[in-house]
Each structure stands twice: as C-alpha cells, then as structure tokens.
C-alpha cells in the first residue's frame, strides 16, 4: 500500500501542472465536490473544527490497526483542502499519522493557508487529525 509520503508526492505531481490559481482552485473545488457527504449524525460538537469561517467536521474511526477519516465542510474549497488531508492520512496507523510530516501543503502552494490565524483553519485541521492519531495510539 502507498505510504503517506507516496500519496503526498502524487498530489504534488498532480498540482505541478497547474500554472495559475484558477487551475489549482478548480482542482480543489472539483475534488471537494467529489467527496461524499458526511452523515449528519457525525456532525457533532466533538467532530467540529473550530477556527474556520466555514463549518468543518472531521470524524475518525479505527479499522483494524488503521485510522480512517471522514470529513465534510459547508464550503467547497475548505472541503477540498480537508479532503486532501484525509486522502493523505486516512488508512494509516496512528503512529504513522502522528509522526507524519505534511510537506505537500507547502509544495502545492497552499502554504499561505498554513498560518494559525487563517480563517480556513488548516492548522486546526492538522492539529485535530494528529490528535486522533495520538489518541488512537494511546488506546492501543
């Protein structure tokens, strides 16, 4: 199976052909739209990520020794971004998730979203995802 870094490299590859912001955001939007909608029952205070102007929910489940993530947002670009995170990290072990280095964000030109104060809360998303990793590790 592909490692976290394999998937990051693949995304970087995908984005490398985009020359301007339009293409990049069109990709994010399309990608966001292609993702399934999170069941309402998972949209709770617990799964909600704070610090985003749009609503973002991130739900995680242990399947065998792997963590599987499901995410949703009411804004489509945000959904695309959180979808990328899920694509990279879902299906890996808690250890792998907790220790991952998410270099793809910078490489695909979303670094500007990485500031802790950004309204889309990418930093909060990453924090939450890693928290899941650590939490599931602890349960082991």
């Amino acid at each position: 199976m592909a490692t976290i870094n394999d998937i990051q490299d693949e995304i970087i590859e995908d984005f490398s052909i985009y020359e301007d912001w339009t293409d990049k955001y069109e990709y994010l939007i399309d990608f966001g739209k292609s993702l399934s909608i999170l069941d309402e029952k998972y949209k709770t205070e617990e799964t909600r990520i704070n610090g985003c102007q749009s609503k973002v929910w991130l739900y995680a489940e242990k399947q065998a020794d792997k963590v599987v993530f499901f995410a949703d947002s009411d804004a489509i670009i945000t959904k695309g971004i959180v979808g990328l995170l899920v694509k990279v990290l879902s299906g890996h072990t808690p250890e792998e998730i907790a220790e991952s280095d998410l270099y793809f964000i910078d490489k695909i030109g979303l670094k500007e979203h990485l500031s802790p104060t950004r309204a889309n809360g990418l930093v909060s998303m990453i924090k939450k995802i890693k928290t899941y990793g650590v939490a599931f590790q602890a349960i082991n």
Partner: protein, 405 residues
C-alpha cells in the same frame, strides 16, 4: 464633484498589487485605508515632536499636549458638540460602548430596568449589555428585524417604555447597510425619559453628524473606519450625563488628588482618560478628519451613494445573487450570497483576483440567524472606490460563480 483619481493618489496602498493583481479594496466596512497626510503626520510627530503629554513643563510635552487638545477640538467641531470636554478619547467604538456600560450602566440601570437595542446590532453593542444584564438583573429588549433589513418604528415605540433606561442603537448597520431612523428613535427614547446612545461606527465616515441637532445623549465611533489610525475611538456625551457618570478606569491623568485616605477625580474630559493615551493616534485622527472635511462629507455621501446604486444594479443582474439589506435608506454596504454557494468560497476566489471583500457574520450573528444564513459576502465602499472597481467585482463574482457551480 470629487476628483476620485486625485483622491486615490492620496492613499498609497491603493496602488498595491495583491498576488500579482491590482488591489481592489472593498472591505471598508471593516476598516478604511489611510491617506498619506495622516501617515506623514504620525511620522513627523514621532520624529520631531514626541513626548508624553499633560503636566509636562518642557517644550515637547507642551507641543504634544497642544496638538492632542487641538485634535479634541477638531472632533468637537466635526460632530458639532457643544463643548470640547464632551469628547472623550477611547480605544475604539467597542471601548466607548463598554465605558458607558460600566459607568452609566452600573450607576443608573438597576434590576428589572430595560435596555433597548435592535436585532441588527454589532456584537460590540450587544455583549456589553448582556454582561451588564447578567450582573445587574436588568433586561435587554430587542427591536426585531424586518425582511428588508429595517426595523419598524411601531416596534420601537412598543419596546421603548417607561421601564427603559437606555436605548443603544446602531446608526448604520455594518452587516446590511441599513440607515436607521435615529432622529425618530432619539425622540421616542426621550419621550419615555430614557437616554439614548448611538453607535455611529458605520455612520461617521458616510453621513454628516451634528450631535446637538440630533440631540442624542451619547455617541460612539472609531477613528480607523474614518480614514484614521487604529487604536483610537471617540465617546461623545452630553456634559451633564458625562458628569453624572462615575469614572471607569483609575490611574494617571483622571485624578485630581490621590491619597490612600481619599482620592478625588479630575474634571471632564480627563476623568475618563486614565493613563497615557494613544497620543500619536489621537493627534493624527484630526488629520484624517480635516482631510474628509476638505473634501466635504456631503459630497462624499453623494458619491458613495452613486456607487451603491451602480453596484446594487449590477449585482442584482447576477443570476442567483441575493442582496441582504434592501432598505430604502442605505449606506454603501452590500451584503450578498450566491445561491447554494458558501460565502467563504466566494471570498477566497475573489481574493485570488486581488479583490478584498469580507465574508462571514460581520460580528452581527443575530442578523445571520434572522436570515438563517451562515454569513454573507460583503462589499463596502469608501470615497476612493470607483465604478470601474465595481465592474471588477462583478467580473470577479461571475468568475467565482462559474468556478463554483
């Protein structure tokens, strides 16, 4: 007629490029840009005249004090207050309103007394009263919104009663652009023996204000929305009301005499200005006011109105676009949504085209709740905006819409 190109040249930031595109700054409701004269005035002050003010015998301290007090006079004249000591320098509108809540509120509002606001208030004119009500057991009454973003005077007349101690209403809604009938609200409040405070944060830069003609009791605004510096606000209050209010913060300058046995307080306006003020900002604020006065606020208002009309027409022509706030009396703010599209997505895609608007709840969550929407996109215009910029906005929205549909 205003020479807009000349005006634009006075604001250095307007020629910035954002992500390689010409900046189109339409977030003036959040804060306005600063004219070069103001930036230079602050610089000059720090380079040639700076010292702490009041009680200083030496030359620099006296110059600073003179400039500071002259600025107070400029504000006085700008809103036509009767006395310059009716002008209190604060940190901003929020600080001004809180000052009133902590002083007027604590002294004159008791359990079961009522405070009246509207459903379109900015959080800064809601939360201070909620904190006060929590503490004192007084009651916050809310004049409800209508679909067009206005309030009804009959609702106001019903809610403002002899139990009302204070009415605190926004002159112009930052989320909807609605210009409230404050003349009538002031008359209503006074007819019931209530005092009335006006949140003029979104009015002062658009509408000539004469506090004596209005006869409002208290009025608050921020310099940073008036082409002025950050960190400065004004609280205007009628002399007798300010005199009756207890002091807010304690410290330097607000005292007459301090001893551990007995401390007495200074006269207005110093009673409410504890500690070293934001000297450079209070001084440079007057530069911004003079800049506006030279252009003429009446002319600015007319020009901005023409922009609003043009933008409203063009935006209304966009399929699936809904404008929130359609009052007859409106200031140059347009809140809108594209059908089925989250405002954040529109904001991001406009930003990538160099267009700065604001998205979200605009610190007016009750308005969003009323319309049952997650927020809006808000374009707000200032005196330096142009029809060409409206066109760029429209193109930008169309492009965003296409990408998001």
């Amino acid at each position: 007629m205003l020479d807009i190109q000349k005006i634009r040249a006075d604001f250095p930031i307007l020629s910035e490029k954002i992500r390689g595109k010409q900046l189109v700054y339409l977030d003036n409701g959040a804060s306005t840009q600063k004219p070069k004269v103001l930036i230079e005035a602050e610089q000059y002050f720090y380079e040639h005249q700076y010292a702490n003010i009041h009680r200083g015998v030496h030359y620099l301290s006296q110059i600073g004090t003179d400039l500071y007090e002259a600025s107070r006079k400029t504000v006085q004249q700008f809103i036509n207050a009767k006395h310059d000591h009716e002008i209190i320098f604060t940190k901003g509108t929020t600080n001004s309103i809180n000052l009133v809540a902590y002083t007027f509120g604590r002294k004159f509002i008791q359990a079961r007394d009522e405070i009246v606001v509207t459903e379109m208030e900015h959080h800064s004119n809601i939360v201070p009263w909620q904190i006060l009500c929590e503490e004192k057991g007084c009651i916050l009454k809310v004049i409800p919104l209508q679909k067009d973003g206005t309030i009804l005077l009959e609702d106001a007349a019903r809610l403002i009663t002899s139990k009302t101690k204070l009415v605190s209403v926004v002159y112009v809604s930052n989320a909807l652009g609605t210009i409230n009938p404050i003349q009538e609200l002031i008359a209503l409040a006074h007819s019931k023996g209530a005092k009335i405070m006006i949140d003029a944060a979104q009015a002062i830069q658009h509408i000539p204000i004469d506090v004596q003609a209005l006869d409002c009791d208290l009025l608050a605004f921020s310099a940073h929305k008036l082409y002025g510096p950050t960190g400065v606000g004004i609280l205007y209050g009628k002399e007798d009301i300010l005199n009756a209010m207890p002091p807010f913060e304690g410290g330097g300058d607000m005292i007459e005499n301090v001893s551990f046995a007995k401390t007495t307080f200074n006269a207005l306006p110093f009673k409410f200005e504890a500690g070293t003020p934001h000297i450079s900002g209070c001084i440079s604020m007057s530069v911004a006011i003079k800049y506006i006065q030279d252009l003429g606020l009446q002319k600015i208002m007319e020009y901005e109105h023409s922009l609003l009309e043009y933008a409203t027409e063009r935006l209304n022509a966009i399929n699936g676009l809904t404008i929130y706030g359609t009052a007859k009396d409106k200031s140059s703010v347009i809140s809108f949504l594209l059908e089925g599209i989250h405002p954040y997505d529109v904001g991001v895609l406009l930003d990538n085209q160099g267009i700065a608007i604001r998205t979200g709840h605009h610190c007016a969550q009750p308005v969003m709740e009323y319309f049952n929407i997650p927020g809006t996109c808000r374009a707000s215009f200032a005196l330096y905006n142009t029809k060409e910029e409206v066109d760029v906005l429209v193109e930008g929205i169309l492009r965003a819409k296409k990408m998001l549909s």
